[in-house]
Amino acid sequence: MYVAVKGGETAIRNAHRLLADRRRGDRTLPSVTIEQIVEQLGLAVDRVMAEASLYDRPLAALAVRQSRGDLIEAIFLLRAYRTTLPRFGTSVPIDTAKMLVERRVSATYKDLPGGQLLGPTFDYTHRLLDPSLIADTPVEEPERREATGDAVMRVADILAHEGLIESDGEFPEDHQAGDITREPMEFPMPRDLRLQSLARGDEGFLLALGYSTQRGYGRTHPFVGEIRIGEVEVEIEVPELGFSVSLGRIQVTECQMVNQFKGSAKAPPQFTRGYGLIFGQSERKAMSMSLVDRALRAEEFGEDITAPAQDEEFVISHSDNVQATGFVEHLKLPHYVDFQAELALVRKMRADIEAARNGDNPMQEAAE
């Protein structure tokens, strides 16, 4: 029989001291700075911000450093930090049409106002490891060209002129935007709450779900209307001033997915849409989010719900990697008493079967 005990304080203390040592690594090498992580591992930092649902690059970089590059651990750290801060307010909705665009591509229109702007992309690289990066060789300054100053028009607005696409997404007038950090999760969940959940959801999970829709599990016939990455102003109403002021800028990635039609006897067919919006630069996640957003609208469009990506309870309940890792990883914590119970049970079952076989006749149900 297992008897409850306590202990392990010294072991835990020493384990954490060992962790700190391993985190630092070889002391003859310089320690990596927060600034270096922000500047040179920026996309890891962005992923941590997006999935922690907290925009702060230096803090996300600190989390990456503290977690030894384990990004889910870093996300967990930043989420935990977030809970220590009061909320001062809610921003005016950011305006992605006024984005200072660093990248914008459309897969649906070749020539569109503002043009195809590739920006700093991995696309069209050959995915060959570059040995020149082993040494710290100097890097060329970027090429420049006179900016046209043309407005970078939204693809949805081009299609909207002809009524060929559904509108951006409106609720009845009395709808207040919900907040998953303040209210318990309930299903069915309105689209605003789903988008908030997806925006902080695990990139790998959303990628796999998005991929599954392409392979036929809840097909949505997607085209990338456009992807844009760049900085937008964050403004807040200041009661002391009586008007909204800028707090500074944040970088976001937006994906407008254009999907196949929905129409009815009354309304002619239109393209439908999926939307993705992510903190920082994260095209893969924004695309995955927009695919899953569209798949989750199956019921709204009267489509059959047959695939995992269309099942909102399944998708939303399992997209948060902090929750997921907490529940999976708790299995490694001591379950000594639970396991003793199971052990006693299986021994009894075996003993009962043995006894029945020997004709002691303690009845069949003992084994059930």
Binding site: P58, S91, A97, L117, R144, A156, G169, L241, V245, G248
Partner: protein, 155 residues
């Protein structure tokens, strides 16, 4: 006390000032502070304190709002000996920078120091931001695809 009443018609100017103070670098704020001939007494009214702002997006880019995620924000309110209140807030967690920004917000509201704040802080910060935006826009423009039509076989 209602600062909006104090500012009255130059709301747009105040908006510009507060926005630039939010985006001035800690270095720019410190340099301007060091250049200031007479450092005013500034009594802290609130903060500097760090908290969160819930950043909202719009469904589809232009539809109804949804909560995208939070950002760190630091804010401060100070009062000068003259009774002018200064207010500042900026993304991030730099309390000292925001405290200085609040002092400069107050100094900007006072006729005697407005020109100094404009000359030593706002104008240089505005010029730097514009130059950064221009550089980024030019670097992005260099990655714009110029399509050309392939000439077909017929001579």
């Amino acid at each position: 006390m209602d600062i909006a009443e104090q500012t009255g018609p130059d709301q747009a100017e105040r908006r510009r000032t507060v926005g630039l103070l939010a985006r001035a670098t800690p270095g720019e704020l410190r340099t301007a502070w060091e250049t200031l001939p007479e450092k005013p007494e500034a009594k802290p009214i609130r903060g500097p304190e760090t908290g969160l702002v819930m950043v909202r997006g719009r469904i589809g880019g232009g539809g109804d709002p949804f909560n995208l995620g939070e950002a760190t924000i630091t804010r401060a309110t100070v009062m000068l000996a003259s009774g002018t209140a200064g207010h500042a807030q900026a993304l991030g967690t730099n309390k000292e920078a925001v405290r200085l920004a609040a002092i400069f917000d107050a100094l900007w509201q006072e006729p005697g120091t407005r020109d100094f704040v404009e000359r030593e802080l706002l104008s240089p910060a505005e010029a730097r931001l514009a130059a950064e935006d221009e550089r980024k826009a030019q670097e992005t423009a260099a990655t714009r695809v110029d399509f050309f039509t392939m000439v077909r076989g017929e001579d």
